[in-house]
C-alpha cells in the first residue's frame, strides 16, 4: 500500500476544497474542511473497496449478510484515519493547515441509527468483519432521523429530532440506479395455470427501496465491509395531476406516505405506538435486502440452489425476521421452486441472534394487522407453522400445551421468535450466561426439541474505536509496551499482563487516565458548563435508561450517602463524582422520571454545602457514541449493576474494562465472563445471583416490604423520594416510591433493588477503599485492560465464523 505523506495529504485536502466547495483553506468553513478531509479519505477507501468487492466476486467467496434494524455507527472520520494507519499524517497535515483535528472531527454528525447495545454491536461487528477480511455486507434502514438527541431541561429529558443527513454525509454512496419494489396490502389470488399454481398479488401499494452503500474500512484491511442502508422512495414522488391543479398536499401525499417508512428510527420500549409502521419498516428492510441478494446471486451464479453455499444471513434480533418468508416467497412465486426445496434453502441460509429474554421484548404482531398489510407473507408463515406444528405433534402427540407455546401463530398473534427458532440453522445468545438462559428458560421447549440449534457467543467491542480512537493516550502507552499488534490481534492483549507488576508502567497508565479525565472535564465544561475536578473519583453508569439496568439502585445509594454525610458520619474516601449518561425511550414514563430523579438528586447534593465537596452527581446529556468515546476513557469505576439474569451481555461493561476502569457489578451477562477472566481480586461482584433470583421468583419468597422494614438505611434513602427533600414538585417521585414498595400492577420492587441494596453499599465502599491504595488500584486497572482482549469483537466474529458462518478470510490467503 502506497503510504501517503503529509504533503500529499495537504495537497489533496486543498484540491478537494477547491473542486468540491470552490473554496480555499482561508475562507473554508470547518464543515467544508471536514468534508474535504472526508472525501480525501473516501478516495483512498474507494480504491480498496472496489478491488475487494471485485475479488469476492472473482474468487466466488461466500458472503455474510448481517441484517439489523439498527447500526449505531458513530463518527467515521478519525476511525477511518486510524484504520488506514494515517492518523498522524492527517493530524499533522491539518495542523499545518491551521486546524485542530478535534475541532474538525466534531463537524461530523454522529449517525445514531440505533438505540443502544444491539445497534452498536452491529457497528463493531462490521469493523471486525472488515479487519478480519471476511466478506460481509451489513443491511439496515437509512433512517432520516436517528435516535433523538437528548436535552435536559429543568431536569427532564426533552427529545429533539436528530437529522443527521441534513448537512450531507460524505461516507455514503447512493445507488439510485438499483432499486427494488416492495409491496404492501392488497389481496392474494391463487390461479391454476398449465405450469401449476400461480400466486397473484393484486391491489397492492408499492414502495421502492434505494440502497445507500457505505464502506466500513477495517483496520489495515484490504477488504472493507459494506453497510447498505435502504431508503424508501415513492413510486410517484410528485403527482402532476394534483400539482398542476395547485393541490400540493395531494401532489405530495403518496410520497409522504411511502417515504415515512425510512423517516425515523423507533425508540425501544415504545411498542404501542406506530406498530404498523414498524412492521412496514421491517418488511421493507427484509424485502429489499432479500431481493438484492437474490438478484446478485442469480446474476453471478445463475442458480439459486447454490444460495446456501454462497451466502449466509445473520438476523440481528427479531426485527429482520421477515427476510425468511420473503426469501421463501421469492423462491416460490417468482422462481418456481417447490415448497420443500424453498424451505430447505431458507433453513440453510438464516441464523438468528437473540438479544433479550425480557418477555415483553419478544416481538409479536397482531395477526389481523399482519394479514392485511402482508397477505402473502402471512400465508407463507401460516404454511411454515402448519408444517412445524405437525412435526411437533409427532414429537409431542396430544401435548397441546407444548404446541400452543411453540406455535408461530397462536391466539391472534404472530410470534417472530418462534418463527426464527423454527427455521434458522443456529440461534445464539450473546454471552455464556444468556446462552444458558435461552436454553433453560426462555426457549426451553425449543432447546429440548432442537438442541443442535442453540449456542452462546459472547459479545465484543472493537478495540479500534473503543481504544485507538477513543483513548489515543492509552493506545500509545500500550503500543510502547507490547507493540501495535493488539489492534489487529486480540490475543496480543495478554502480553500486557506482566506490565501490571511494573510500577512505572502503572503510574504512566494512571497518568493517561488522569489526562482522559481532564479531557472529559473540559468537554463537560464546554458542553454543559459543569465544573468537575479530575482529582475526584469518576464513578460512571452509562447505558440506556431501563429499570432492569437499575440506575435507580445507584440513585438510592447516593441518597444513602447523602443521608450519612448530613448526619455527620465521617465520609472517609476522597470526593467522588457519580456520572450518569442515559437516554430513556420517549414513551417510557418511569424511565424518564428516573432521569428527572437523577437530576433532582444532582441538584440536591451538588448544592448542599455539607455534601458538595464530597459527592457530586452529573448527568451527561445526549449519550451517544461520540460522547461515550470521551466518557469511558475517563472512568475509574464502571457500574454494571443490572438485576442478575436480565442483561443479555452488555457491551458497555467491556468498553470500560478495555479502558482500565474497574467494575462493580452483578453476576449478569458478560460480567460473569469478566469475573472469570479477572478473578475475584480485580472486579467487585455483589448482589443476588441468577439462581437466587430464580428461587425467589419460583417460590415467590421475595417481599420488598420486609427489606424496607428491616433496613433503616434503606428506608431512609427511599423515604427521600417523597419527603420533600428533593428539589422537585411534590409527588414527582411518588410513582417510583410506589412501585418499589407496592408494585405497579405486579410485584413490588420487580428488579430486586432492596434485596441488593446492602451488598451494593458494602461492595462500593470496598471499591472506594481499594481506590485509596493507588498502586494496587492502578495494577488492577492495568489487569482489566490486559484481560480485555477476549472481549474484542474480533474474537466474537471469529466464533460466529467458526460456529455459524464458515466464511473464508481473504487474509488467510495473503493480501495481493
Amino acid at each position: 500500500m502506497a503510504k501517503s505523506n503529509v504533503t500529499t495529504v495537504k495537497n489533496n485536502i486543498l484540491a478537494a476544497l477547491k473542486h468540491d466547495f470552490g473554496s480555499t483553506i482561508e475562507n473554508a468553513t470547518p464543515d467544508q474542511v471536514y468534508k474535504a478531509v472526508g472525501l480525501c479519505i473516501r478516495d483512498e477507501i474507494m480504491e480498496k473497496w472496489t478491488e475487494g468487492n471485485a475479488r469476492i466476486e472473482r474468487e466466488q467467496k461466500k458472503k455474510l449478510y448481517y441484517l439489523s434494524a439498527e447500526f449505531l455507527m458513530g463518527r467515521a472520520l478519525v476511525n477511518n484515519m486510524i484504520s488506514l494507519g494515517e492518523f498522524d499524517i492527517y493530524q499533522q497535515a491539518l495542523r499545518e493547515l491551521g486546524y485542530d483535528l478535534n475541532e474538525i472531527e466534531e463537524q461530523e454528525s454522529d449517525a445514531g441509527l440505533g438505540n443502544g447495545g444491539l445497534g452498536r454491536l452491529a457497528a463493531c461487528f462490521l469493523d471486525s468483519l472488515a479487519t478480519l477480511e471476511l466478506p460481509a455486507i451489513g443491511c439496515g434502514i437509512r433512517y432520516e432521523y436517528g435516535l433523538f438527541r437528548q436535552r435536559i431541561l429543568d431536569g427532564e429529558q426533552v427529545e429533539v429530532p436528530d437529522n443527521w443527513t441534513e448537512k450531507g454525509y460524505v461516507w455514503e454512496v447512493p445507488r439510485t440506479d438499483e432499486r427494488y419494489e416492495v409491496r404492501f396490502d392488497g389481496e392474494i389470488e391463487e390461479i391454476w395455470t398449465n405450469e401449476g399454481l400461480k400466486i397473484v398479488h393484486k391491489n397492492y401499494h408499492t414502495v421502492y427501496a434505494v440502497p445507500y452503500d457505505m464502506p466500513i474500512i477495517g483496520y489495515q484491511s484490504s477488504l472493507p465491509s459494506t453497510l447498505r442502508l435502504w431508503s424508501a422512495r415513492a413510486a410517484n414522488r410528485l403527482d402532476l395531476k394534483y400539482f398542476n391543479r395547485g393541490d400540493y398536499i395531494h401532489a405530495m401525499a403518496e410520497r409522504e406516505l411511502a417515504e415515512v417508512i425510512s423517516k425515523v428510527l423507533y425508540p425501544e420500549n415504545n411498542h404501542e405506538q406506530g406498530k404498523q409502521l414498524r412492521l412496514k419498516q421491517f418488511y421493507f428492510l427484509a424485502s429489499a435486502t432479500i431481493q438484492s441478494i437474490v438478484r446478485q446471486h442469480k446474476a453471478q451464479y445463475g442458480d439459486l440452489r447454490t444460495l446456501p453455499d454462497k451466502i449466509t444471513i445473520q438476523l440481528n434480533d427479531t426485527h429482520p425476521t421477515m427476510a425468511i418468508p420473503e426469501l421463501i416467497r421469492i423462491l416460490l412465486d417468482e422462481e418456481g421452486f417447490g415448497w420443500d426445496e424453498a424451505y430447505d434453502i431458507a433453513t440453510r441460509v438464516f441464523n438468528y441472534t437473540n438479544h433479550t429474554i425480557m418477555v415483553e421484548a419478544l416481538e409479536c404482531w397482531s395477526e389481523p394487522m399482519f394479514k392485511q398489510l402482508l397477505p402473502r407473507i402471512y400465508k407463507i408463515i401460516e404454511t411454515i407453522n402448519e408444517r412445524f406444528c405437525n412435526k411437533l405433534w409427532e414429537v409431542y402427540p396430544g401435548d397441546w400445551d407444548k404446541i400452543s407455546q411453540m406455535s408461530i401463530i397462536a391466539y391472534g398473534e404472530i410470534r417472530m421468535t418462534n418463527l426464527l427458532i423454527c427455521v434458522c440453522g443456529k440461534v445464539n445468545g450473546v454471552s455464556q450466561l444468556h446462552g444458558e438462559i435461552l436454553k433453560t428458560k426462555a426457549f426451553r421447549d425449543f432447546y429440548v426439541a432442537m438442541p443442535d440449534k442453540f449456542l452462546g457467543i459472547t459479545n465484543g467491542v472493537t478495540q479500534r474505536r473503543w481504544l485507538a480512537a477513543a483513548n489515543p493516550g492509552l493506545t500509545k502507552l500500550i503500543t510502547q509496551a507490547i507493540g501495535p499488534d493488539f489492534l489487529a490481534d486480540w490475543r496480543e492483549f495478554d502480553k500486557l499482563l506482566p506490565f501490571a507488576d511494573d510500577a512505572a508502567f502503572c503510574e504512566e497508565f494512571d497518568a493517561v487516565k488522569r489526562e482522559n479525565k481532564e479531557r472529559f472535564c473540559s468537554f463537560i465544561k464546554r458542553s454543559q458548563n459543569v465544573e468537575l475536578d479530575p482529582d475526584w473519583i469518576f464513578d460512571v453508569q452509562a447505558k440506556r435508561l431501563h429499570e432492569y439496568k437499575r440506575q435507580l439502585l445507584k440513585v438510592l445509594h447516593i441518597l444513602h450517602l447523602y443521608n450519612r454525610i448530613i448526619a455527620g458520619e465521617p465520609f472517609t474516601t476522597r470526593p467522588c463524582a457519580f456520572l450518569f449518561a442515559a437516554k430513556a425511550a420517549p414513551g417510557y414514563a418511569k424511565a424518564k422520571n428516573i432521569i428527572r430523579l437523577i437530576n433532582a438528586v444532582a441538584d440536591l447534593v451538588n448544592n448542599d454545602p455539607r455534601t458538595k465537596d464530597k459527592i457530586r452527581v452529573v448527568f451527561l446529556e445526549n449519550y451517544s457514541v461520540s460522547s461515550a468515546e470521551l466518557l469511558i476513557p475517563a472512568a475509574n469505576i464502571s457500574e454494571q449493576i443490572s438485576t442478575a439474569g436480565r442483561e443479555a451481555s452488555g457491551t458497555g461493561n467491556m468498553k470500560f474494562m478495555l479502558n482500565g476502569a474497574v467494575t462493580i457489578g452483578t453476576m449478569d451477562g458478560a460480567n460473569v465472563e469478566m469475573f472469570e477472566r479477572l478473578g475475584p481480586e480485580n472486579i467487585f461482584i455483589f448482589g443476588a445471583r441468577v439462581e437466587d433470583i430464580n428461587y425467589m421468583e419460583t417460590y415467590n419468597t421475595y417481599h420488598a416490604g420486609e427489606y424496607f422494614e428491616k433496613n433503616p438505611a434503606l428506608r431512609d434513602a427511599v423515604t427521600r423520594l417523597i419527603d420533600g427533600t428533593l428539589p422537585a414538585p411534590a409527588g414527582q417521585f411518588s410513582d417510583i416510591y410506589q412501585s418499589l414498595l407496592f408494585g405497579d400492577f405486579d410485584r413490588a420492587d420487580k428488579y430486586y433493588l432492596f434485596y441488593d441494596f446492602p451488598s451494593y453499599g458494602e461492595t462500593l465502599s470496598q471499591v472506594f477503599q481499594a481506590y485509596e491504595d493507588r498502586a494496587a488500584w492502578n495494577r488492577m486497572a492495568v489487569i482489566n485492560t490486559a484481560r480485555a482482549g477476549y472481549f474484542s469483537s474480533d474474537r466474537t466474529i471469529e466464533e460466529y465464523n467458526s460456529q455459524i458462518w464458515h466464511l473464508d478470510s481473504l487474509k488467510k490467503h495473503g493480501n495481493s
Binding site: 401460516e382 396430544g398 397441546w400 400452543s404 401463530i409 397462536a410 429440548v448
Partner: protein
Amino acid sequence: MAIHDTLNQVLIHDCALPGDRDPIGAIREGEAVTLRLRTRDEGIVAAEVVLFSDYGSDTVKMRRDNDAFFAQVGPFSRTGVYFYYFVLHHYGDTFYYGATADHSRSSGERSSTVPAAFQITVYCRDFQTPAWLHKSVMYQIFPDRYAPENSEAVKEGVAYHRALGRKIYFHTDPKEPVEYLPRAGEPYYTPNDFYGGTLDAIRRSLPRLKALGVDVLYLNPIFESDSNHRYNTSDYHRVDPILGSNDDFHALCADASALGIRILLDGVFSHTGSDSVYFNRDGRYPGPGAWQGEHSPYYAWYDFKKFPEEYRCWWGFKSLPEVNELNPSWQDFVITGHDSVVRTWLRAGASGYRLDVADELPDAVLEKIRTAVKEENPDGVVLGEIWEDPTTKFSYGARRSYALGKSLDSVMNYPLRKVMLEFALGSSNAYVLCTALRAQRLNYPLPLYYSLMNLLSSHDVERVRSVLACEIYGNALTRQQQASFRIRPQQDRKGAQRQAMLAALQFSLPGVPCIYYGDEYGMPGFLDPFNRTVLDETASRYPLDALYARLGALRHAHPVLATGAVSIVALSADVLCVVRANTHSQDGLGDAAEDACVVTLINRADTYKYLVVDILREGGGFDAGVVGALRAAGYSRAKPLLEGTETRVLDGLFTVNLPPCSAQIYQIQ
C-alpha cells in the same frame, strides 16, 4: 382448519399431569380425585364428568374457573377400577372428551361419540407389600436345567421314578439337545427327559448368584413330579428325588439366607398331576387317590363329570386334573390348615410363592393364600402369574380384584416384556413404550407397582436374546426350525446390544428386575422346551454377566433406582428417558429415603442421538411437588454410572450424545 385456528377450541386433560388430575395415579379407598379440563373455548357453557365402574355410573357437574373446568370425584368408598370421560355442552351441541381409542397417550381427545375412558384405580387402604422385595433383583431358575449333575444321588432319584414305572429319559451328557419330539413308538412328546439339576448344585452356586447381584431366587416347581418342568405335582410335601431331598431344600434356604438371598417357590395349586398322591391315576402311590373312588380323601378335590374317565383338567391335558379350590378339605390341605402346603414350605425357608395360573384361582382363594402366607411370614410374597393388566382383568365372567391389595403382592410383568421387545425391534416406538410404562405407573396400585416381577424371558416365552437377535418370535417357527435354529454371530452381537439396552431399562424401572437363568450368558432358545436348555456359560460370544452384575450393583448402590418416584418420557421415537427421584426425604412409596436422582436413557437407533434431557419435565409420572423439589435441589452435574461423560446440569437440563443401540445411566448431583 389450520392448527393455530384450532388452538382456541383445544381441550386438554392429561391424566398423568398433576393439576389436571390430583392426585395422579391409583388411590387408596376413601380418597378423592380432582379433575381439570382445560379449554379457552368460551362457547362451552357446561361440562360434566361421567364416572362409571362395575358398581354403576354417576355424573358430576364441573365448575368453570377461567380457562378450565374442575370437578371432584369420590371419595371412593369401594376398591375397584373406575373410569371417567367428559361431556361438554357447546350451546346446543354436545360432545365428549376422553382417552384416545388406543390409549396411545396420557392426554385425550375430543370426540362426537362416547369416548374411551381414563382409569382411576382404587385399592385397599392398608395394602402393603414387602419392602425387601422392592429393592431386590430376582433370578429365575428352571431347576432341572440349572446345574445338572450325574451324581449318585441323581441316579438314585432317576431310579426312584423308574421304580414307580415312570418312563424317564436321563441325559447323561448335559450337551445333549433337549427332546421335543415323540419318542419312537409314542404318539406324543412328553416332557420327561431329565438332565439332573439339583438343589444342592443351586446351593453351591449361591456365591456366583450373589456376585451377580441376586437377592431372590424364583425356582420353578421342585416337588416330586414325573415331568421335567414339575408342573404336574405328584407330592406337595416332597422335593423331587432327582433334585434332592427336603433337607437339601432346608440347606439351600439356610445358605441363601446367610447370603441375604431369599427363595420363592412355584405354587402350582390350580391342578395336580394325574400321577400323584392325590389323583393316582396310574396307581403308583399306595393310598387311594381320587381315581380310586369316593373313599379317597382327595376325591372331592376333583370334578368328575363321568367317573373316572371324564374330569375337569387344565386346557384338556388329562395329565393335569384341575382341583376344586373351593373344596374345604383342599383348602385346608393346601392353604388354611395348620400344616398346609403353603405354610409348610414357608416354615422350611421359602419367602413366598409365585402362583401358577393365578387367574384360575378364585379371588376368595387367592385371598386365603395371602392370609396364610402373611400369617406365616409378614414379609412373605404372593406373586401371581398374570399375563395382562391385572387391574382390569376379566376372567371367568368377573372383574378380578387381585391387584387391589386383597391377594397378590405382585404379578409377572409380561406386558412390560411385550412393549420392551416391540420397542427394541422397531415394531413400535418410544412414544408407545412410554405410554405403556406410564400406564402401569398410573393404573397399578403403588405397592404392587413397586413389586412387579419385571422380566424379559421366562420358561413360558422365548429367551430375550433369540428374539432380539433374530427379530422373530417363536410362533413363527416350527418346532423343528426352533430345534435347529442357530443365531449367526452378527445377529448375536446385535441381540446382545439390544439386550443390554433393555436390561438397563429393566433395572431402572420400579419393580423387581428378573434375570431368567442363562440370559446373563446370552443363551438362545425360542419356545418350550428350547427356552429351558441346560445353563451354558459359553452359549454366546457376547455374554452380559458383567453387565447384569453392574446393573445389580447400581441398583443396590442407588436405592432410588428401586424405590424412587418415576417419570417416563420419550425424547424421540428412538429414545426413552426414565427419571427416578427421591425428594422431600421420601421415595416413591412415601418411605423415608435420602434425596437422590438418577436418569436412564436408552437409544435404540443405529445412529448417535444428541439430545437434551429435562429432569424437570412435568407429566411423566411424578406426583405434584416432585418437580418443584428437583428444581429447588439445584442439581448441577450428571455423573455417568455406566458409559458416557460427566456433564453439567443447567436448571434440570443436560445434553447427552447416546451411541447407537445403547443405554446410559446418570446420577444427578
